[in-house]
């Protein structure tokens, strides 16, 4: 069966239109970026307010025993915060597609729209492509918008100490343009896969959301000082996620097979 982009775009058009009219879902999608922007800005602002606080040196020393005595501990901690927080920021492109895809796939079953949809000529691959696009475009868009606001916020609050722009730096630029889409694809793939196996959007969301736990765990490891994040560290994460994306794509297309969906849920 040939892949017809027009049909995939039709699915994207419908899901995107539906999303735009789903106020509750839009609000849920908006809350997460706000938290991911405001929390680090608040932390950086605290460091900037008291750069000479001796406790900052103690904390900085905990992370880096070799920190020279003359080094600016506040600046060190700001840079460390920005590096570690990037791991947390990656939760956003994972989580937003989970919110959307759970609604769009399991929601079709709940609303009993699945059978008319599957009775049309659309193929499983077109369905996966259209639905994925409808969740990836908002997820990546929100991540990029949040990144712009994050950069502005950080630079504004850090300016008195740094006397120049801190953001965007190389790690964040690489991460937001390369890793964020890969992570978004991962979140979407997990949600599609789980949505194809459960009957309710809420259950799909709850189960899919569990995949962010390893990410949060890694950030916890960084904050605890057990893991040191950097470009290489995030690049390895990206490679692993890319591999998982491929597996999820194949599995999603198989699971969105008509026979399987109709036998189970029709």
């Amino acid at each position: 069966m040939a892949f017809r982009p027009k049909r995939a775009l039709a699915v994207f058009w419908k899901d995107f239109l539906d999303l735009r009219k789903n106020v509750g879902l839009l609000l849920s999608m908006g809350v997460l970026p706000l938290v991911f922007i405001l929390v680090p800005i608040g932390v950086v602002w605290t460091y900037v307010q008291r750069p000479e606080d001796p406790n900052l040196r103690v904390i900085a020393h905990y992370y880096d025993k070799s920190l020279p005595l003359g080094a600016n501990a506040a600046l060190f901690l700001i840079e460390r915060t920005l590096t570690d927080w990037f791991g947390m920021f990656l939760v956003m492109p994972v989580f937003v597609p989970i919110l959307i895809s759970s609604q769009s796939v399991a929601g079709e079953k709940e609303r009993r729209t699945l059978e008319p949809l599957l009775a049309s000529p659309v193929t499983a691959a077109e369905l996966v492509a259209g639905k994925s696009l409808a969740s990836l475009v908002p997820a990546v868009g929100i991540s990029w918008l949040a990144f712009i606001l994050f950069c502005i916020g950080i630079d504004v609050v850090a300016w008195p100490l740094v006397k120049g722009p801190l953001m965007p730096n190389a790690l964040w630029t690489f991460g937001i343009f390369i890793l964020a889409p890969l992570f978004a694809f991962f979140g979407n793939g997990v949600a599609v896969l789980i949505s194809a196996r459960v009957s309710e959007a809420r259950t799909a969301q709850q189960l899919s959301a569990l995949v962010v736990l390893p990410l949060v765990g890694l950030v916890g490891g960084q904050v605890a000082g057990w893991l040191t994040a950097g470009m290489g560290y995030y690049a390895i994460q990206g490679a692993v996620v890319l591999l998982l994306d491929g597996v999820l794509l194949v599995a999603s297309i198989r699971l969105l097979d008509r026979e399987r969906l109709i036998s189970r849920w029709g």
């Binding site: 069966m1 017809r4 027009k6 049909r7 775009l9 039709a10 699915v11 058009w13 419908k14 239109l17 539906d18 009219k21 789903n22 609303r111 009993r112 729209t113 699945l114 059978e115 008319p116 949809l117 599957l118 009775a119 049309s120 000529p121 659309v122 193929t123 008509r258 026979e259 109709i262 036998s263 029709g266």
Partner: protein, 305 residues
């Protein structure tokens, strides 16, 4: 080849057989009734014929497309009205229809006038830009019917098309079904509303996991003779006498009328003699068609037995 040709169609889910050995044809321009109790395999059959499920055995050709090998072409050709309307509530009626036009890769500008005609016919044209979530049950059903026709299908499967509709709307839908058949389309109607089946269908298949009967409606109703007898006074008092006959016929009573179901023409004189002996003054006795409901229930009972 146009129409539908079904040969030995079967579907099993694991070890459980949903339907077995179905063989029938439906001609272009025919409204064909697919009847059976809940769980008889009607929906499974329709799903196989619309390319949603692959048969476990057998083959069906729908308007020239094999259900086994030409799923995509098949789905371009058929229209399916599911039991639930299955509309996107946040989208307007127009957006719902446009979505299906896009899925069928139609030129929307060219297809819209025809779709608009159906919207007008079903009284929905003025509500096209309102979200479907605000529609009544009947409006949702009518919109689902329009969606089924969006791509001008040659074969149309209708599952309970008048469910939830008021009598006037139900009449509009029935008229539309008849008109679609007149245009040469093949229509398969699944319904528990036997009156509607009697009005619309030329032939019916009664299934219960397998084919119990396949015949023109008139033939099916004549399959067993019925006698319509008018007696003086309340006919109820003669029921015990009729029940005592050796062949114990089924009897429907309406005031002074008795509809006695027979299995053989030769039983008619015995029925009349029995009534006269019981003191009935018989005003008239005419052969009558058995109601489809009676035939249907009898076949289902036999199928279970």
């Amino acid at each position: 080849m146009n129409g539908i040709q079904v040969q030995g169609l079967a579907k099993r889910f694991g070890g459980r057989a949903a339907v077995e050995g179905l063989t029938f044809d439906v001609r272009p321009g025919e409204v064909f009734g697919l009847l059976g109790p809940n769980g008889a395999g009607k929906t499974t059959t329709v799903r196989m014929l619309t390319g949603l499920l692959q048969p476990s055995e057998g083959e069906a050709i729908v308007w020239g497309h094999s259900v086994r090998t030409h799923g995509e072409e098949l789905r371009r050709t058929v229209g399916l009205l599911t039991e639930q309307p299955g509309l996107y509530d946040r989208l307007t009626a127009r957006e719902n229809l446009r979505f299906f036009m896009k899925l069928h890769e139609l030129d929307e500008a060219a297809a819209w006038p025809r779709v608009r005609t159906y919207l007008e016919r079903f009284g929905l044209a003025g509500r096209a830009d309102e979200p479907c979530g605000s529609f009544s049950k009947g409006m949702r059903q009518k919109l689902a019917i329009v969606r089924t026709l969006v791509h001008d299908p040659k074969v149309i499967f209708l599952d309970e098309p008048t469910s939830g509709l008021d009598p006037e709307s139900a009449r509009t839908v029935r008229d539309a079904v008849e008109e679609l058949a007149t245009e040469g389309r093949t229509i398969v109607l699944c319904s528990h509303n036997l009156g509607e089946v009697e009005r619309l269908c030329s032939r019916v298949a009664i299934i219960q996991g397998r084919l119990l009967a396949l015949a023109p409606l008139g033939e099916l109703r004549r399959a067993g003779l019925a006698l319509d007898i008018r007696v003086e006074g309340d006919a109820e008092r003669f029921l015990p006498a009729l029940a005592a006959l050796p062949f114990a016929p089924n009897v429907l009573r309406e005031g002074g009328r008795l509809k006695v179901m027979l299995t053989d023409d030769a039983q008619a004189p015995d029925v009349l003699a029995c009534l006269v002996t019981a003191g009935a003054r018989v005003h008239s006795a005419v052969p009558a068609h058995r109601p489809l409901e009676e035939v249907y229930l009898e076949l289902i009972r036999q199928g279970r037995g």
